[in-house]
């Protein structure tokens, strides 16, 4: 690979990570002002954060909302992928277009329309509404991940299992599921990550529920504060750990599958 190509990649990575690095640096900076030059190293902002009950509550709320979103995105993504790859499915094209709708309609338009219909039919806005709406937005991503793996599988394996007397359910559990488990864990992480990253949907549908992103948004309209930096870094690190774990799991599964084959 040429020198030009390498420098392009380095510049691109620098651009993508620059804001995050600056954010992290100031969370350890010994000054309440976010200005250069840096004044020294401190853990003060993290200590302040640990004593902040609002933050801890917001964090637990966000986490508890993200889990069902991940699970729902995975389950519905799995069902959608099974349907998309089913033999003799006449409405496949239409169904695929339908799956793109939550992705193509801007989140802001979708959430405001959902907020209107909910208040009209008396469905209270809150955690449940937020979970359902976020799962819907994650669905196209989850489906893409699972379906991409399923179309590459050898259909003869399922056929062989069925010929040897396995019920469809057994064939699914014993033959298909082990092969798509890495993709399922990917779909789950995408749901969790999109839920943790979301602010737009929460603004319209959270009701009295206060996830972290909403708390940060209301705090930050007023001022920049280093303990908010520290909070962002904590969220970033936890998300990275989550991604790392699911990636490690995926790789281990893939290796195991390769060893079995």
């Amino acid at each position: 690979m040429g020198r030009i190509g390498l420098s392009v990649l380095i510049v691109a990575a620098g651009f993508l990570y620059l804001p995050l690095v600056v954010l992290a640096v100031f969370s350890f900076n010994d000054s309440a002002l976010m200005a250069f030059p840096l004044s020294g190293f401190t853990l003060e902002w993290y200590r302040e954060l640990a004593g902040n009950e609002n933050f801890l509550r917001g964090f637990v709320t966000s986490f508890l909302i993200a889990q069902p979103v991940g699970i729902l995105a995975m389950l519905f993504g799995l069902m959608a992928s099974l349907a998309l790859t089913a033999p003799g499915f006449r409405w496949r094209g239409l169904f695929a277009v339908l799956l793109l709708v939550p992705f193509l309609v801007p989140k802001s338009v979708l959430s405001i329309a959902q907020a209107m219909i909910m208040s009209r039919i008396g469905f209270e806005r809150g955690a449940t509404a937020l979970i359902l709406a976020q799962s819907l937005v994650a669905l196209p991503f989850a489906t893409a991940l699972i379906a991409a793996v399923m179309v590459r599988l050898d259909p003869r394996l399922i056929e062989a299992a069925r010929d040897l007397g396995a019920s469809p359910w057994q064939a699914f559990l014993r033959v298909l599921l082990p092969q798509i488990r890495p993709a399922l864990s990917g779909a789950y992480s995408v749901g969790v990550i999109l839920s943790l990253a979301d602010l737009t949907i929460a603004m319209f549908l959270a009701g009295r529920t206060q996830p972290l992103s909403l708390m940060v948004a209301s705090e930050f309209r007023r001022e920049l504060r280093p303990d908010l930096n520290a909070m962002q870094v904590v969220v970033l690190v936890l998300t990275a750990v989550l991604v790392g774990l699911s990636e490690a799991y995926r790789r281990r599964r893939l290796k195991k599958l390769a060893a079995e084959a």
């Binding site: 804001p19 200005a35 709708v101 193509l104 309609v105 329309a113 940060v216």
Partner: protein, 286 residues
């Protein structure tokens, strides 16, 4: 009727119809309703649509959304091509790492990114301090934060990974020998790009453009939190009409007009890109 695998589409379709299509349909109905004493009353009134049709502000904001989506698409495409092409030259192990490097910034929350850019671009932020330190400028550059420049920069930042991924996937499928042949026959690298690589990667460019346009045109948070006085958006106005002003019919009409305009522009864009010669060759073959 016995259960078949394809029937699993039913619950999924039902969820999308109930969660996406029904709310959009209700938007259509509400746009014809009337508001009396802060009460939404079913009616068949063209008041909201009439008001919208003659509101220059509303159409200006819809135009702004289109412009912001198109500009973000163009910027990400220009920056995305060199990155995607460089990625195709990596060894297989490097590619796995590159995917993680590329996707990790997307995992950060919307609000985290907005917050981080405020620190980078502020009067005493990284960029201004560096430029002053080197002696290029005497006063902090004011246009860096709370300006149209900020909106363009951050929207480009937010969407670049999607564009790179789409072009990259397409570029990986280009037969390397075609490029070598062009070079052997005397094409300069720039000619090889515009006559061979670009036409053959237009399907990826089209997919990336559609994605980036859909994600950036309706965005309201980045402009409102980083755009300063230039940060007004159609969706912020819809939000205002919905919440503070309690004019749901006008809010619905404006949201629908925005959605329809974005849909038309996106279809035109995809159609245009796919009509290019190379795209026809690639898509026709599949």
């Amino acid at each position: 009727m016995t259960f078949r695998q394809r029937h699993l589409a039913l619950p999924v379709a039902a969820a999308i119809v109930a969660g996406c299509l029904a709310p959009l349909a209700v938007l259509v109905a509400f746009s014809f309703y009337e508001v009396e004493d802060f009460e939404l009353v079913p009616a068949f009134s063209f008041r909201a649509w009439g008001e919208l049709a003659f509101s220059s502000t509303d159409w200006f904001l819809i135009g702004k959304a289109v412009l912001s989506g198109v500009a973000t698409t163009v910027f990400t495409a220009i920056l995305g091509y060199p990155v995607a092409l460089a990625l195709t030259r990596l060894a297989a192990s490097g590619k796995g790492l590159a995917v993680i490097v590329l996707l990790t910034p997307l995992y950060t929350g919307e609000i985290v990114r907005i917050y981080a850019w405020r620190i980078v671009l502020g009067g005493e932020g990284l960029v201004n301090t560096l430029l002053q330190g080197v002696g290029l400028i005497d006063e902090p550059l004011k246009f860096l934060l709370f300006s149209p420049f900020t909106i363009a920069l951050v929207l480009t930042y937010n969407n670049l990974p999607f564009m790179v991924l789409a072009i990259w996937v397409s570029a990986e499928m280009v037969d390397r020998r075609l490029i070598e042949a062009a070079r052997d026959l005397g094409a300069r690298p720039i000619d090889a790009f515009f006559r061979v690589i670009f036409p053959l990667t237009t399907p990826g460019l089209a997919a990336g453009s559609l994605t980036v346009f859909a994600l950036s045109a309706g965005e309201m948070l980045t402009p409102s939190l980083l755009g300063g006085t230039s940060g007004s958006t159609a969706m912020a106005l819809v939000d205002n009409l919905f919440g503070t002003a309690f004019d749901w019919p006008l809010a619905s009409a404006l949201a629908l007009a925005l959605l329809a305009t974005l849909f038309l522009v996106a279809s035109a864009m995809a159609g245009l890109l796919l009509r290019l010669k190379g795209a026809r060759a690639v898509v026709g073959r599949v």
